[in-house]
């Protein structure tokens, strides 16, 4: 993986004399509130560093006023950072002059806005064409591109309507289409779904996931909703009072919140939606093999104090499950292992959400087997792990 975006010690301070305030802050320290009280300057963002991989969805979350918008607006220099450097690939964009910056915005980066930022005097099609128009693409070409993108975001048939004729969710699709039309490497999204009602919102999140699956953009996504953050983010950065307080995958943050603020934040998360099979499964330590035969299988069960055992072949492919009762009886009657194999257990894959495993876990009397596409056994989930993830 290559690093697409690198943010180094970026700060943004608002007020009459931001540079000197930043110097003072770097030297003497001080929190956002202290600085505001003492100097009347607002600290938007202070000393933030992080890297984003190519193709990654990087979510920034935090309470209102924590500096999320200020930070994301630094990334396309709508805000010029007071200090620090930003690299895209190996170009330092914070060193760009005006025309380099325009070129960069035209070709490499696009933004989706919270209140859509749609041009109400233009049709849907002409809105989507806007970025291409600025790039100087001829009319017929840009219309072709715009129509394709409009199709991608599910707005086909609405090309010639005015934005005011469309619902909020559809207007944000225009915003998304307009941003995708210029084929940017990086997509900045500042609370793009916050203005939408919950149902539409979930639909748009899914739409974004689908589009991202296809296009593999590098996305910086802002939200103050933990569920949204964890659903969309490959990694999540949590901001507080102008600082990044934790960066990690959703699982890392959930299982290991860095401080009380984050703990608070993740409290209202519905864990079953975030935790996947791979987070709650055990490594299969006790297993039997066809080759090993019944006697070995019985010993394995006895040693581990379990009443059933998954049976694999020599390539670790799952063949079935046996119970201790069947095994003992078969052993007395001199039957073979393959005679008592059962298939009435549940399987799942690594990525399945725990939420979806709940019915399987409660119905089946055996543990759930986690297998890959070649039906190799990767792990075992017992009922208690699923149910305990609920609390």
């Amino acid at each position: 993986m290559t690093t697409k975006l690198k943010v180094e010690h970026v700060s943004k301070i608002f007020g009459r004399n931001p540079k000197s305030i930043l110097k003072k802050m770097n030297k003497d320290g001080g929190t956002k509130e202290q600085i505001e009280e003492e100097t009347g300057h607002t600290v938007g963002v202070h000393d933030v560093s992080f890297e984003v991989e190519e193709g990654e969805t990087f979510v920034i979350m935090g309470l209102s006023g924590s500096g999320k918008s200020t930070l994301i607006r630094c990334l396309n220099l709508l805000n010029v950072p007071t200090g620090g450097k930003i690299f895209i690939g190996d170009e330092e964009i914070t060193a760009y002059n005006k025309s380099q910056l325009r070129k960069f915005r035209q070709d490499k980066i696009a933004m989706v806005f919270q209140h859509f930022g749609i041009l109400t005097h233009r049709t849907v099609l002409n809105n989507v064409e806007y970025g291409l128009e600025i790039k100087g693409m001829p009319k017929s070409d840009r219309e072709k591109v715009a129509r394709t993108v409009i199709e991608t975001v599910g707005l086909g048939g609405w090309e010639d309507k005015m934005p005011s004729q469309l619902s909020g969710g559809m207007q944000q699709r225009i915003g998304l289409a307009r941003a995708l039309a210029t084929e940017p490497d990086i997509l900045l999204m500042d609370e793009p779904f916050s203005a939408l009602d919950p149902l539409i919102r979930r639909e748009m999140q899914q739409e974004l996931l689908d589009i991202q699956n296809k296009l593999k953009k590098t996305i910086i996504f802002i939200t103050h909703d933990v569920n949204e953050a964890f659903k969309l983010g490959d990694r999540v950065a949590v901001m507080k009072a102008g600082k990044v307080v934790q960066i990690g995958t959703p699982e890392e943050i959930l299982s290991n919140p860095a401080d009380a603020y984050i703990k608070d934040f993740v409290q209202d998360i519905d864990r079953t939606k975030i935790l996947q099979a791979k987070n709650v499964m055990f490594k299969p330590t006790a297993i039997g093999t066809i080759k090993g035969g019944i006697k070995l299988a019985i010993k394995e069960m006895k040693d581990n104090g379990i009443s059933s055992l998954f049976i694999l072949d020599s390539e670790r492919k799952l063949q079935g499950i046996i119970t201790i009762d069947d095994a003992i009886k078969a052993n007395q009657e001199d039957k073979k292992l393959s005679d008592i194999l059962r298939n009435d257990f549940e399987t799942t894959d690594l990525e399945a959400y725990v939420q979806d495993l709940i019915p399987k876990a409660t119905e089946s009397k055996f543990p759930i087997a986690v297998v890959d596409e070649n039906s190799k056994l990767l792990g075992i989930i017992v009922r208690v792990s699923v149910l305990s993830a609920l609390v």
Binding site: F113, H115, L119, H121
Partner: protein, 286 residues
């Protein structure tokens, strides 16, 4: 006796000095402005007079019909025709065309000055804080006051009349352009910037189209003020319906005064309704 102390402050002298100085140093400038205004004015006037009367009646009818409705179109056409019948031998038709030319030129010049100035104000806080009080002052002054500098600079005739009309009529379009540009949503402008637009592209592709309905309201108001100023401007010798009113007043000729007055009202109503309907068109498109 009021016992007011006997002090004489001669402020007037300084005003005179300023004007003299302006005249001495910028005479060429005033002459040039005068010449250009006059040429445009005469050009438009003779064009309007050259057009056959039925073309103009037809245009008024068509505009009324398209912008409002068929009934209004027919009514406006008939009204304009009615004015032509006053005075005999197309006398009032000619006067009306002169007045129309004056209004057209005044509005045209007001817009060419007012819209860019309004944009500049919107972009520049300092310009706004200089221009706003001037506009406030201009709108509280009685309209005939503008005739004084106009006469000082341009003497008598058409040019001072147009000049005074412009000064009187320009504030609304400046104000509303400024307001309209400032009110364009910040997020739209940022969207424009985020795609790498130049400031000029943002003005042309985002701010102006967004501001257009409000600017059109300003254009409408400016037009109506120009119309109102026409009668007063005729005091400095601009021929047209206004002068006809003045002459009638001077001679206590009620019949003639009524005809001239009603002509101005008809012209005013038609121009107002048409320009308002046009403005609403822009708003409806939103």
């Amino acid at each position: 006796m009021n016992n007011f102390p006997n002090i004489t402050l001669e402020i007037g002298i300084y005003a005179e000095m300023l004007i003299d100085w302006l005249m001495d140093n910028f005479e060429i400038g005033f002459d040039a402005i005068s010449f250009i205004l006059l040429q445009i004015l005469l050009g438009i006037e003779s064009f309007l007079l050259w057009l056959p009367w039925w073309v103009i009646v037809g245009i008024v009818f068509a505009l009324g019909w398209r912008l409002i409705n068929l009934k209004t179109g027919i009514f406006f056409g008939a009204m304009i025709f009615l004015v032509g019948t006053f005075g005999g031998e197309g006398l009032y038709w000619g006067l009306m065309m002169s007045t129309l030319a004056l209004i057209l030129v005044a509005v045209l010049v007001s817009l060419t000055i007012g819209i860019p100035l309004g944009i500049w104000m919107a972009y520049n806080q300092r310009i706004q804080s200089i221009v706003t009080p001037i506009l406030d002052g201009m709108q509280t002054m009685p309209s005939f006051v503008y005739l004084i500098p106009a006469m000082v600079f341009f003497g008598l005739g058409l040019v001072p009349a147009v000049f005074a009309t412009i000064i009187y009529a320009v504030p609304p379009v400046i104000r509303l352009t400024n307001l309209a540009i400032r009110e364009v949503s910040q997020e739209m402008i940022e969207a424009g910037q985020s795609f790498g637009s130049t400031p000029w592209q943002i003005l042309r592709k985002i701010q102006l189209p967004q501001a257009l309905p409000t600017i059109m309201t300003g254009v409408n108001q400016t037009t109506m003020m120009a119309l109102a100023m026409v009668v007063i401007a005729s005091m400095v010798g601009a021929r047209g319906l206004g002068m006809e009113v003045l002459t009638a007043l001077g001679r206590l000729d009620t019949a003639r005064g009524f005809e001239a007055g009603i002509s101005i009202v008809i012209l005013a109503v038609i121009i107002d309704r048409l320009s308002q309907a046009a403005t609403n068109r822009f708003k409806a498109k939103e």
